[in-house]
Structures are given as C-alpha cells and as structure tokens.
C-alpha cells in the first residue's frame, strides 16, 4: 500500500520510495526513508494534494507523489 491509499488521520511507517529520478530523491531527502513513521493530516478540497506529518514537520505531496511511497499502515493500537 502507499500513502495515497491512506485515510486522513491514518498513521504509517515508510517501507521504501518507489519513484525514480528527482522526485524520488527529493522524497527521500525530505525524510521518506525506511522505518520513518508519519501521519496523513488532511487533503485539500478535491483530495489532492495531501498534508503529511513526518519527522515532526509538515510536508505537502501530490497524490501522484504519495503513490510512490510504499508504506505499512499502523492502526490505533500501534500494531502493523
């Protein structure tokens, strides 16, 4: 599953960045790397772009970019 599959408020851990080239590199630089936890905070009016909290800061992503980040969803109990 990827970040675009998640609902608002859902928490995740990053598995890996699947997008290649500059966009992938940028996502990794902004902290989307293996094992990092984050939360989808909200989306703009038509569900795009998304606001994601990661490493204690907020970042916006388009859905097309969010689809490139493979994640595991963590439910409220904290189990995978």
């Amino acid at each position: 599953m990827n970040i675009a599959d998640l609902k608002n408020g859902e928490t995740f851990t990053v598995c890996q960045v699947m997008i290649r080239g500059e966009v992938g590199k940028r996502l990794a630089d902004m902290g989307f790397t293996r094992g990092v936890a984050g939360t989808v905070i909200r989306s703009a009016l038509f569900g795009d772009p998304l606001q994601v909290n990661i490493l204690n800061y907020n970042v916006s992503l388009r859905k097309s970019e969010a689809r490139g980040v493979e994640v595991l969803s963590i439910d409220t109990q904290g189990t995978l």
């Binding site: 630089d29 902290g31 606001q51």
Partner: protein, 719 residues
C-alpha cells in the same frame, strides 16, 4: 586566499531553520547584498569581529539537500566548492533534527570543517525533544553548540567553537561511510577521477563520486571537464546500474537512505523524546486556514483584501506623485523657453520616468503585504490550496499568487515569481503573467467599452479579464507540453510552522524589490522614455502658418452664431489650433510615419494608421494609448471632460466600429507588455526568454485579432 586576520564563514542550513535570525544577530547592520552571477538569488554577506579577528559571513541559500534540484542548492554547493570558505556553520533546527542532519552530513562530505548550531532548542524542549549536543557532536565528529537565534543566545559559544575548530583546520571532518556496496563503487570511481590531477584539485573527489552515484545532472555536467570525462561517465553509469541492481531502487534514493540510517542511529543515541504532546499553535491555525472547505474561500478573501488595500490605499500617494510630477513639468515649462530642451525634460523625462515612478507606492504596499504572508508561512499554504487547479494547466501552486498580482501590474508580479524554485516553473509563470490584464490596460478597456458598448461596458471589460486568464492558462498548458517540457515538478513542499514576521524582515524584502524597480526606472526606463519621446517628436512638421490661419478662420465662422463672447471664442480657437498642431506633429514624427508604415500589417485587424501609432506608443505604457488617441483625434487632453469628447470623437470616426474597438482591446490585452515589464522579465529570466515573450505575445495578439476581426466582418457582427 584568506589571511589569518580574516575568517571566511559560510552560514548554511535548511529553509526555516532560523538561519536569517542568526545571520542578523551575528552581523547586525554590517550587511551587503548582491546577486550570484547570472541568477536572481540574493547573495548576502555580513561582517563581525570576534576577539580581534575579522569574520566575513556568507549567508547561503536555505536548502534541504545539496542535489541539482533547485538553483538554491546548486548555488550553495558551488559556493562552497569554488569559493572555499574556511569553515561552515550549519544551522540545525532542533525541532526537526533528522531532516536537518541529513544536510549537515552532506556539508561534512565536501571536506570543509563544519560547526553545528543546534537552533530553536527552546521550542524543541517545549515539544518534548531533548538533545544532548555533546553526544551528538561526538557521533557526527563535529562541534555542536546550542543556540536560540531570536534571543541571541549561544552565539558567543558558537563563535568560540568556530575559532577552536579553526585551530585544527588541517584535520578534516569525519564523514560517513555508506556500507560495503556503495563504498566499493566510490573507491573505484575515486581511482579513475584521481587520474586527472587538475580536476582532482578543483573538486573534492569523494564528494564528486557520491554525486555521480546519486545520478546528479550537475555532477555529470562537471565531469565533462575531466581529462577522461567519457571514461568517468561510463564507469559511473556502470556503478549506478550495479547499485540499482543490488538494491532494486533508484541509486540516488539508496544514497539518501544510507544517510538517514546514519542520522537515525545518531539521533537514537543523542535525543530523548518525552510523550508530552503539545498541540502547536500552527496546527490549530491550520485546522482553520487550510481547512478542506474553508481553505479556498479564506484564501480568496485574503487575496481580495490585498488587492483592495494595494489599489485603493496605493491610489492616494500615487496621485500625490502624479501631481508632483505634473507640477515639475509645469515648472520646466515656466523656466525654459519652448523648444526641444523643454519638451525633452517635461514631456520625455519627467513624463516618462514620472509615470513609472508613480507606481512605487503600489509596489511598496503590495510587497509589505506579500512579505507578511511569505514570512508568516502562509504562502506555502496558499500553494497547497491552489495547486490542484493550476497543476491541470502545467502550472504550480506557487504560480497562483504572481499571476493574481499580474492583474495589478506585471512588474511586481514577475518579481514575485521568484518564490518558484524550479526554473521551468518560474519561466512558465513569468511568460504567462503579462496575459493577465494589468491595471494600465484598464483605462484603454474602459475608454473603448464606454464609447462603443455603452449598454454593456462592464461586461465587455470583464470579458477582457476572463479572456486574459483563459489565454494565460491555455498557453501554459501548451508550453508545458512543448518548449518547457520536463519531468513534472514535484510538489514536495514544507508547510513551515507559522511565525510572526519581523519588521526588519519585511523591510528588507520591500527595500529589495523597490530598489530594483528604482534602479530600472533610472536606467533602462529613462532611456526608453527618451526614445519614445524622440520618435513622437521628431522630425518636426513644416511650419504652415497659412494653413492654421485658414483653419482658424473656418473655425471662427462656425462660432460666429454661437453667441459666445469674443474672448471665449478666441480661447476656443486657440485650443483648436493647438490640437491641430499636435496632431500634425504626431503624423510628421517617426511614430506617425511608422504608423503609416505598419498600416499594412495592422490593416487585416481593421486598424488604420492612427491605431497603428497608438499601438506603438503603447509599448511605453499601456495607458499612453489613451493619450495618443486623444492627440490623434484632436481632443485636447487638458480640457475638462476629455474622455466624453474623446468617446464622441471615436464614435463619429467612420473607419471605427464596435468590432474594431473590441479587436483593439483584445490586441492591447495580449500584445507584448510595456517597457517596464519587459525589462523586469529580462532581469528575471534572461534575454532568450524575453525575445520568446515578445514574439509569442505579438504573434498571438495578431493571430487572434485577425481571426476575430475577419470572422466578425464576414458575419457582419458589430460592423
């Protein structure tokens, strides 16, 4: 290059890490600003003295990484590599420590000593993040000092750490190792690159190898200067292929993941986090300002307020300036005898430059408001809200604001496009901005709409705005798929915490923008005003007293039955002859002749030579078109109620029609913007795109107007 008496310090860090406050606290008012060669990124440097030693501090652009992703990143790394500062102070935002350390490791890799300033520690502790800077420093192999930039705390200790580190300047910083697979490739490439001693002395070799493995475009460009550039390129490509085969992912991503893995290790050791979860003020503000439903209406409201404030409040000082320049022109008329010098000073220089300077209040007010939004952190939110709609047309969320400012004036709008970090996005935005109908085009629209569409004037003017927006978006759509094609620009953008803007910060932005505008007014626009004046003044018409006497007599005979007093009649006759002379002067001038020459070009659009002249003078400023029409239609500009008589004169011209009026409005909307805008475009995106802009707007204007006029004529609409 540096003597022991001066220390050259590069100040670097992430955007929003508090770097500017540290820079200001260290240097006070001893700052100067320039531009990095060839780009419009500010180059700030400041001075300070510490224990008798002079320090020059270079404020590098804030970046997240050191890739070739944005101009800022390339500038920051090129500065360090080519200018070789003695030491780098890397400002690390403690609330966001992992992402900040990812950049810190990249500075260490370049091979210049790094000292870390762990900043915003007060906020971090409030959030429950406690950093042991001693342990962190030992793990990374660099000195780290805690600072609170806005309170000026920790800066003495920071400078002490810098000098302490300089005593061991010859020992390089420790740098991270990337694991067996990557290090094998690094070693192999190092061997190949070191075969060229000159290249190896110019660039840090290990750093270059890592950049090549990251598939960095700029590094591949630089490697072309290597003696065996082709061989290095081939080897690097093979290395990348091996890494991607092994890890199954993009090599650039792999390198970054290794850095983050190292950072996570260090942070686990040196940082303790308590569960104290204070909901920050920023989060609370965001639940309203970028609320799914409220976000867009609130944004539009803010925009509307900015517009109202700028163009209503700005109107007042703008009128003062206009009055002042008119008084100056009158003064010149009174002091100097009539002649070329008087005309040059009053009509050319004061009229032209004055017209441009009267926009200064607008620019100041607009940029006070915009800088407030920018520095507070709202600008990123505005991009978040609007990105969806603009992305459809190949634009970026951050294009929205500059385009809207374009309704006011293209000059500040083009400057505001600087917030776009990707060059292609910025060029695209700048190119379409002049299609947004600016404030100076409004008088033209209003005059023509009122004269020829008295019942629907408002709607016709409105249609110009809508056509402009439509053309801007559709040309963006086309260019994005042709001349400015490229990988979709990522929208991976930080939404920084809201901060209260400082007066100093806003003052700085406003001064920066205004001084650039003033500089332009004093140079290129001064020259342009003189040129426009010259082509509308020279050559002088032959003096023809017999003709004017005849005209005066004819006019007098029409007044004979009016019952006016003789003095009133004389004054009317005087006016009549003066406007006649003005008109003769224009038609004899280069501009008038040019109008006749370009008539065949504009004929298919329904324009005669007079409209040709009007169009030419419109390049000085769009509102000049109204004045030119006034002169050409022999209406005295200074008389009261000028617009009513001009409207009447236009309507009664048999060669004019509602269709032609509409086409003229359309033409003025699209055709190349005024000199002020063109020179700003040149300054921001260079000559090549300036010419592109001129050719694009002129051909689009002609093509579209041709279609509309010919279709209208065939269908008999508005003839």
């Amino acid at each position: 290059m540096s003597t022991p008496q001066t220390l050259r310090i590069g100040l670097a860090g992430n955007p929003n890490c508090g770097k500017t406050t540290i820079f200001n606290a260290l240097t006070g008012s001893h700052q100067k600003v320039g531009n990095y060669a060839g780009v419009t990124v500010d180059k700030k440097e400041g001075h300070c003295a510490w224990k008798g030693i002079e320090c020059i501090i270079y404020d590098l652009p804030g970046t997240y990484s050191l890739t070739a992703y944005s101009i800022d990143e390339v500038i920051a790394r090129d500065f360090i590599i080519h200018e070789k500062p003695d030491i780098i102070i890397d400002v690390i935002d403690a609330t966001n420590i992992e992402r900040n350390l990812n950049l810190c490791l990249q500075f260490q890799e370049i091979g210049i000593p790094v000292v870390g300033a762990l900043n915003i520690v007060d906020q971090a502790e409030w959030m429950g993040i406690f950093v042991n800077e001693k342990i962190l420093g030992e793990l990374l192999g660099i000195p780290i000092v805690k600072t609170i930039g806005i309170k000026g705390k920790g800066l003495d200790a920071l400078l002490d750490a810098v000098f302490d580190r300089m005593k061991r300047a010859t020992t390089p910083d420790r740098f991270i190792t990337y694991g067996y697979e990557l290090e094998t490739e690094v070693n192999r490439l190092e061997g190949v690159i070191k075969k060229d001693p000159v290249f190896s002395s110019l660039y840090p070799v290990r750093w270059m190898c890592i950049k090549l493995l990251e598939n960095d475009k700029n590094a591949f460009e630089k490697i072309k200067t290597h003696l065996k550039g082709d061989r290095v390129k081939k080897e690097a490509e093979e290395s990348i292929a091996r890494i991607e085969g092994h890890f199954g992912r993009d090599a650039g991503v792999v390198v970054t993941e290794q850095r983050y893995a190292y950072v996570h290790g260090a942070v686990t050791e040196a940082v303790t986090r308590t569960d104290k979860k204070n909901k920050s003020l920023s989060e609370k503000i965001d639940t309203v300002l970028i609320n799914r439903i409220l976000g867009l209406p609130l944004f539009l409201l803010i925009l509307w307020c900015i517009f109202q404030i700028t163009f209503t409040v700005g109107q007042i000082p703008m009128q003062w300036l206009e009055v002042l320049f008119a008084a100056m022109a009158d003064g010149v008329h009174a002091w100097l005898p009539p002649g070329v010098l008087q005309s040059l000073l009053a009509d050319g220089i004061i009229g032209g430059v004055g017209g441009v300077l009267s926009f200064v209040p607008l620019i100041v007010i607009l940029f006070v408001l915009l800088s407030f939004l920018e520095d507070s952190g709202y600008m990123a939110r505005a991009a978040f809200i609007t990105d969806k709609y603009l992305h459809i047309f190949g634009l970026h969320g951050q294009s929205f604001l500059p385009m809207v400012i374009g309704f006011g004036c293209s000059v500040p709008a083009v400057m505001a496009a600087r917030t776009l970090k990707n060059p292609k996005d910025r060029i695209l935005t700048v190119i379409v901005i002049p299609l947004m109908s600016c404030g100076a085009k409004l008088p033209v629209h209003v005059l023509l709409a009122a004269a020829f569409f008295p019942k629907n004037a408002g709607n016709v003017v409105m249609s110009m705005y809508l056509i402009g927006v439509g053309l801007a978006l559709s040309s963006a759509f086309v260019f994005r798929r042709t001349v400015l094609r490229g990988e979709a620009t990522p929208f991976v953008m930080e939404l920084p915490p809201y901060r209260m803007p400082t007066v100093r910060g806003i003052g700085w932005h406003v001064w920066d923008k205004t001084s650039q505008y003033l500089k332009k007014a004093g140079t290129i626009l001064l020259a342009a005003s003189i040129l426009i004046w010259a082509i509308t003044t020279f050559p002088k018409p032959h003096d023809n007293p017999v003709r004017y006497q005849k005209e005066a007599m004819i006019f007098q005979s029409t007044l004979a039955t009016s019952g006016l007093s003789l003095t009133a009649q004389d004054s009317l006759i005087g006016h009549h002859i003066q406007t006649l002379k003005n008109s003769d002067a224009i038609s004899a001038s280069i501009a008038g002749r040019a109008g006749a020459v370009i008539e065949p070009v504009v004929r298919p659009l329904g324009f005669d030579w007079k409209l040709g002249v009007a169009v030419i003078t419109g390049f000085a400023a769009k509102e000049v078109v109204v004045a030119t029409l006034g002169v050409l239609y022999k209406v005295d500009n200074t008389a009261h109620g000028e617009n009513e008589t001009l409207r009447h004169a236009l309507r009664s011209d048999p060669s004019f029609s509602p269709l032609i009026a509409f086409v003229l409005m359309l033409f003025m909307l699209i055709v190349a913007p005024c000199f002020a805008a063109l020179s700003t475009i040149k300054a921001e995106i260079g000559w090549k795109w300036l010419w592109f802009e001129i050719v694009f707007t002129c051909s689009l204007a002609w093509g579209l107007c041709f279609l509309v006029y010919q279709t209208g004529k065939i269908l008999g609409i508005g003839a």
